[in-house]
Amino acid sequence: MELLWEGIKHALAALLAGDREVIDITLLSLRISGAATLISLLLGVPLGIAIAQSRFPGRNLVASLVNTGMGLPPVVVGLFVSILLWRNGPLGFLELLYTPAAMISAQVIIAFPIVAGLTMSAFQTLDPKLGLQLLGIGASKPQLLWLLCKEAKLPLLAAVMAGFGGVISEVGASMMVGGNIRGQTRVLTTATVLETGKGNFEIAIALGLILLALTFAVNLLLTYIQQREQIRWPRPS
């Protein structure tokens, strides 16, 4: 318990004193996972909508792949991505290993199926004819997408939170493709593992608490957006 207190004090001290390293690590976590979540949204939401609302050949296969992808173990993703990015690997020429770009890529692979899968179920709760009706009222395709997203705002934001939560907290893939290099690819999760391994438990707890606070703040914001304007009216029988 006292360890926890030490951790909290350490965390506050580090942040208030503007400990450069801690702040950099925190910002990097946010930027990498934020970018990964954003890209996962760009890829996952349209895919989820397409699977939910249209019938194309191979649709069921794609849907199963997405559902399988939701359960991918991050450490396995990390292993496969690092093998791809190794100097002697097929994508070695990109020279991306041990860079934030590699971490973003691995995190996208982890988050994108989550976002796509949850978007898919979100949109399957919508009437399949709704899209047609909106077009029939004169919506353009971008307008249609926007309206459907607003309709499915609740589960869609849940998808965003799940995607973000999945990557901000993961350590296996980040460790493998990032290398936990000080000042370059060290993020909150990998730093926590490092400090724990060194026996610096107060620092580890402090980093862990910062990570929790960060995740909480982001989710607070998203939950606010999600739950706004939810009026409950009695339904007529």
């Binding site: 047609l132 909106l134 009222i137 004169g138 607003k150 309709e151 009216w233």
Partner: protein, 363 residues
Amino acid sequence: MAETILELKNIVVRHGETIALRVPSLGVAQGEVLAVIGPNGAGKSTLLRVMGLLERPAEGEVYFRGRAVADADTLALRRRMASVFQEPLLLAATVYDNATLGLRLRGFDRRAIERRVAPWLERLGITHLVKRPARSLSGGEAQRTSLARALALDPELLLLDEPFSALDPPTRDGLILDLEKILRDTGITTVFVTHDRDEAGMLGERIAVLIGGGLLQVGAAAEVFAQPVDESVAGFVGVETRLPGVVESVGEGLAQIALDGRAIEVVGDFQIGERVIVCLRPEDVTLGSPHGDGVKSSARNRLAARVAKINPWGFHYRVALDCGGARLVALVTRPSFVDLGLREGEEVMASFKATAVHVIRRK
């Protein structure tokens, strides 16, 4: 001569391997209300989607006011039409937001929107509901909102896909009457799909019959219901008696047709030996006691038959008769039913006028 707002030419729509719709030619004239009827799965909704530029046909052309529709025009032309479907399909927002959606999508400003939508809210009787969330509406109120949404756009073509099917009868009746009045007053060109003959008859000026993806008959309501062009249309529009026969003799605008041992007389020009189908609507078949009880009628055709089945039918009774192997269907009013004391298995006399008979030439 009214302008043709929309015209379909040589349209073929495929869903997978099957042909879902085939329309060689169909036009919608300005100001008319065209009802499209047919059984479920006939392709009516597909037809409406093609008209609304919501589905692209595999073959054929769609013309809007005489100009062929190109891909680049679709959005602009779609915005000159409005569709309403069977379910109201409203968004999770207030009635006002839903009703004004179409206008907002087109970029009208707040005041213009208010001006355009208010009269329609009034006319459809939902002004008092504007602030209510769509989720809390009853079926009828929701459908009125959907209609307001479409009508507020002042569309050049209104497309309604079974808009009343999901409503309970009293709500339905109320809404049909309101819509009928609106269409009459505004003269909006409307295409309206239904599987209900009565709705079609009530709202439609012209009726198109779609069966199995094919457009079988288009014409005025009276014509389509009384003179179906072939057996499947006949079956669908409620011509329940369809008896195959051969023309035996002709003369003076009349013809004798042999039906399996019996002869009946019809009006029309035929050739001897022509194979035909004799059609009768149940309302045109009168039943009487088999022994000629002195009630004179002008019906020249009398056939002896046995009552096979009696079914209550709304405020009538539907009586299926076995006429020596041929099947006849009559619709009898309650009082008549009681008077005749009909029972299954009884012998009766079925009579009908020569003029009531519609003859379909067999191909």
